[in-house]
Structure formats: C-alpha cells, structure tokens
Subunit: 200 residues, 4 copies
C-alpha cells in the first residue's frame, strides 16, 4: 500500500460511479407501481391482481438492469488498469443504462396498440446500442491491454465471443418486430436470460 | 496487494452496489411526507399532528429497510469470496428490498378499509419472500464455501437458525391476517425488532 | 491484506452506506427549483429573480446536509472499529438526515404566516434531535473504544465539547421561536456555520 | 495496511460521496423524457421523432455531468491527502453539479423565446461558476500540497493551464449571448468537448 498504484485506484472509482448509476436506475423503478385508489369493499384483491402488467414491467426492468450490472461487473473483474478512453467508453455504456426506463415504459404503454412494432423496435434498438457499447468497452480494454496481467487469456476470449453475437441477434430482433412484435420481445427476453445466466 | 486477489474485489463491489440500492430505497421515502397546504392561522400545529400516519409510515419503512441493510451487512461480513450465483441470489434479495415501498403504502392506505386483511397479507407476503431470499443467500454462501476461512464456524450456524425461523413466522403472520389484521402487523413488527436488535 | 481485519471492512461499509444516503438527500433538492412557465417577452430575467426564495432554500438545505456530512466524516475518520450498536446509532443519525427536507419545506412555506413560530420550532426541533444523535454516535464510539488506537486523545475530546453544546443551543433556538421566529432561524444558521467551519 | 494512513482513507470517502452525487445527478435526468400519450394508429414513429429536443437535452446533460465527473476524477487521481478546506471546496463544486439540471431545463424551455439570451446567460453563468470552483479545488490542493509525493510535477501544471482558461472563455460566452444566443451555446459545447476529450 506504500506504492501509489494509481491504476488500481482509478478502476475502483469508475466501478463506484457505475455502481451508483446502476443502483439508482434499478431502484427508481418501484416509484411507478401505484397503489390502487378508492377500491370498494371486497374488491382490493382483484384490483391488485388486475395491475399485473405494472408488476411484470417492474420485474422485467429490474432483471434487465441487474443483468447489465452483472455483465459490467464481469468485465471490470478482469480490467485492472484505466485510462481516459476507458472513462469515455464506460460513459457511453452508462448512457445506455440510464436510458432503459424510457423504451421499457414505451413498450408497456403501446403493447396492444396498432403501432406496437414501433415501440418494440425502439426497445430492441436500445439493447442493440447497449450491446455495441459493451463490445466497445470490452474491445477497448482488450486492445489497450488494461486487463490484469494474471488474467487467464481464455476468459476475455470467452466473453468476446458471447458479446460479438449480441448486436447481430438484436438486429434480428429488430427485423422480427416488423413481422411479429411478440416474437421480437421473446427473443429479447431469451437474450437477457442467456447473458444473465451464462458463467463467463 | 501484489497478488490479484479477485474474490475480495468482487465482494466489495457487490456490497457497494447493494449499499447504493439500500441507500436510495431508504432516502426516497421522505418525498412522501407532504407539507400541509393552506392552513388557517392558529391551526398549523394541529394540521401537523393530524398527519401522524405519514410520519409513522416514514419511520416504519426507514426501520425495516435499515434492519434489512444491517442483516445484509451481517451476512457479507462473513462472506469473503464471490461467484456468479452469489450475484444472482443477492439480486433477488435487492429485488425484494426495492419492492418494499409498494406494500407499505398499500397498508397505510387500506388500514381501516374492509379489505385491510388483503393489504396486510400482501405486506407480510413481501417479507415472507424477502426472508426466503435471505435464507437462499445465506445457504448459497454456506454450501459454496464463500465464507472467510478465519470465520468462527458458530457464527454462520447462529445466523442460520435465526433465519430459518423467519419464513415460518411470516407464514403464521399471513394466516393471522385472515383473523385479525392488527395482530398480524404486530407480529411483523416484533419480527423486525428481533432481527434488528439480535446480535448475531 | 492477508489477515481478515473484519473491523476495518465494517467501518468502510457503514461509511459507504451513509455516503449514499447523504448524497441522495443532497442531490434530490434541485428537483424542487421549477423553471418559470409562460413568461412574456422581456420578463424572464425578472421572473427568475422573483423566485429567489427557492434558490435560497436550495442553498440552505445543500449547506446543512453538506455540513452534517462533514461532521459525520470527521467522526468516522477517528472510528476504525464497528459493532452492532454503532450500526443502530448511525441509523438514527441517517434517519434525521433523510427527514431534513420536510421541516425545511415547512419553514419555506410558512415563513410569513401567523403560525411561522410552529414551523420554526419543528425546524429547530429536527436539528435538536440530530444534534442529540450526533452526541449518541460520538459517545457510543468513545465508550466502546471504537477509535483507532493511534488517535490523538485530544481530538475526540475537542469534538466532544463542540457536540455537547449543540443540543443546548438548539433548545435555546426552539424557545426563541416563541418570541421571534427570525431570530431563531438566525441562531440556527449561526450554529450551522460554526459546525461547518470549525476545524476539529 | 498496518499503519493508520488516515489521509488515504479521507480521500476515498470524499470521492465516494462525490461519486454518489454525480451518479444521482446523471441518472435522474431520464425521468424527464415522457412517453407520448394517446397517439393515433400509424403515428407513434412520428410522435417519437417529434420529441427530439427532449432526447437532445438528455444527451447534453448526461455529457456535461459526465465530463465534470471525468475532470473531478482527474484531479482526485492526483490528490492523496485531505483536510477540512478540501471538504468545503469540493462541496462548492458539488453544489454547482447538482444545480446543472435547472439552467439546462431553462434553456430547453426558452430557446426560441425572445428572452432566450437570458436563459443562455444563466446557463453559461452556471458553467462559469463551476469552472471557478474547479480552479479553487485545484488551486487549494496545489497550495496545501495535497498531491501524492510521487506525482509528476508537470501533470498538475498541465491541468492548471487548461482550467485557468475556463472562466475566461465562459465569460466570453456570457457576453456573446447578448449578441447571438446560438453562438454562445456552440462555444459552451466546444468547451465541454475540449474538457471531455483532452487527456491531461
């Protein structure tokens, strides 16, 4: 601890700032679940059940932002050094994360509307952009050699393959929305589960 | 500090992210206490006293989220290593924590309503789920051997017993709500005090 | 880093959680400054100047929460070990901090109202309670010997004297509100400046 | 880790608190992008495109707060020790950061209004004050010798020159607003890009 070791310190603060952004984005969501008002006697249970879409939206957004945090964590577990470019690329990723509540609310509001395909395309388009930013972050750290020297060289490569596929599959999901909006959402969900559960 | 020691680093970031979520959930609550509007001369003191339920709700929610933070802290004081599953199980627990404001508002709004038992069941049901998630977290860390090697083996076992009782007692509280909603809330409060004050 | 050193780890997390609470409480305040709407041509500058009370309220709240953070920081710079009681006492203090926006809004709304003395008493009463909690925190850490062994024994004693005077002066401010609400607020401000600027 | 090393601990907590403030300020912004309501069939895409100013405002504010975080990070990478004055000066800077959403909303609302020059002057005035606070922070740390002893003496001097120019250029931008509000905004944007992209 006597040596300055500025690189380690830098990564710590990028992670702390990112954690703050993820934590706020994930916690603000509950504010959108409303208590039903002026319910007659004997009707509260039904009134609560009827607002299932708002619970589902809460659960979906929580899961998606949580999964993105896990992936961010997974990449930064390997990164031990930092530079100016890493701050900028990480900033792009956080921009995507803080934007997520908007397309999610859009899909929730327009799901049975004739224009639902537009909402689903915006939704999948957001994840397309985020998956590109994840690739940028990973690729930047890889090319600049910011990984810990002790990192097993297979770990970055495994992440690499999983991330490269992401943008392609989100492009497919965007095209699919023109044919079938529900199928497009299901593909999005499948991708989220894949990125959430896959172990490196 | 020359060795990579990736496990310690991981726990630190899970705790930082969780701290952020707890801190936001506990701080947002004050936004719901409103300043009384257009009060006549000589009536402000009474107007302030009359909104005692909103102070009580603020106090209750603050205490409950605070107690959950203390318990989270207590478990992670013992956990020194981390893996992918720990991230997922901890995520479930945070999902429960961020959901708490909704059932609390529900009880506050429906406490003297004929359907108050529904509100109290949802309230205790939320804590049942959270207590199960606490057991999952503790059990996962125990089975995967994520505790620090220096941990006194009695500490985890003491926590274990206190946590295993939790879901059973919350189930009792849910059943009790069908008979007497107030008694069910009192049992919930007693459990919160027990988990808040018990020292390991 | 090879020794577990659980005490240091604990203090770190209490501070991180407290930092989150302070940061959120201090940042949410700007949401209450509103952009003036539908202002005629040539009137925007005046419209902006006319809402000076909302800038003053923003500045006051920011300063007060900032000063409390500095004092919290000052105490925890000395505390290196932690136990269950410290979590509870620190929780009481955070409860006071998250409550601050309510009495501040109350004073802003009722400052030229016949009942302004009520609002000012609630305002100073909140700071009375917070100053008692600061004494509790400091006294608890002192009695339980949670300070770092290297701590100069004069530093805690200096803080001690400054903190013990606090509750007495806030009591004076509460009594003063019955005679003159403005004088009571000025005393509160003077105390805030004293605690903000005094160096240990 | 056996030595107390209180200075390093202090800087860590100032940075953690500041990170929290920056993270909240940057994340709250998305709450202001609204989902368009009651859009007729076939009109959603257009309705979404028509609210481009709110996306632009989101992007602008995110970038500006992000750039200020990068600059804060850059300064604190060099600062390793802390004292009471640093807390106060850093507090001034955070005051400026939490205020940013107000002038940004002001410009967004009054951009094609006859009084747009007032809004743009407030906007650039805010950045003038923030740039002065950045100079105060840097100057304070420099004069009090709070930099790490290992710091290359050229790094602080490089930052010094870039920061000293800031207030002068923001003064020019304020004057320019009287002649041409758009040109004043463009100069502000150019400065933001300069401070965001310049590497030390």
């Amino acid at each position: 601890m006597s040596l300055p070791d500025p690189d380690q310190k830098e990564t710590g603060r990028i992670e702390a700032f990112s954690d703050g952004v993820f934590a706020i984005a994930i916690t603000l969501l509950v504010l959108e679940i409303k208590v039903p008002h002026e319910v007659e006697a004997g009707r509260l249970a039904r009134a609560l059940l009827e607002q299932w879409p708002s619970y589902l939206a809460f659960l979906t957004r929580f899961s998606f932002i949580g999964i993105m945090w896990i992936n961010h964590h997974r990449i930064f577990r390997l990164i031990h050094r930092s530079d100016h470019g890493l701050l900028l690329v990480n900033g792009l990723l956080l921009l995507g994360v803080t934007f997520v509540p908007f397309p999610t609310a859009l899909v929730a509001d327009y799901l049975r509307h004739p224009d639902e395909y537009v909402a689903v395309m915006v939704f999948n388009g957001t994840y397309l952009v985020i998956s590109i930013f994840f690739n940028l972050l990973w690729g930047y750290a890889y090319r600049r050699g910011l990984f810990a020297s002790s990192t097993d060289s297979r770990a970055p490569r495994g992440i690499n393959r999983a991330y490269l596929i992401g943008p392609l599959l989100y492009l497919v999901a965007i095209g699919l929305a023109l044919v079938n909006a529900t199928a497009s959402l299901v593909l999005n969900l499948a991708l989220a589960i894949f990125y959430g559960l896959s172990r490196d």
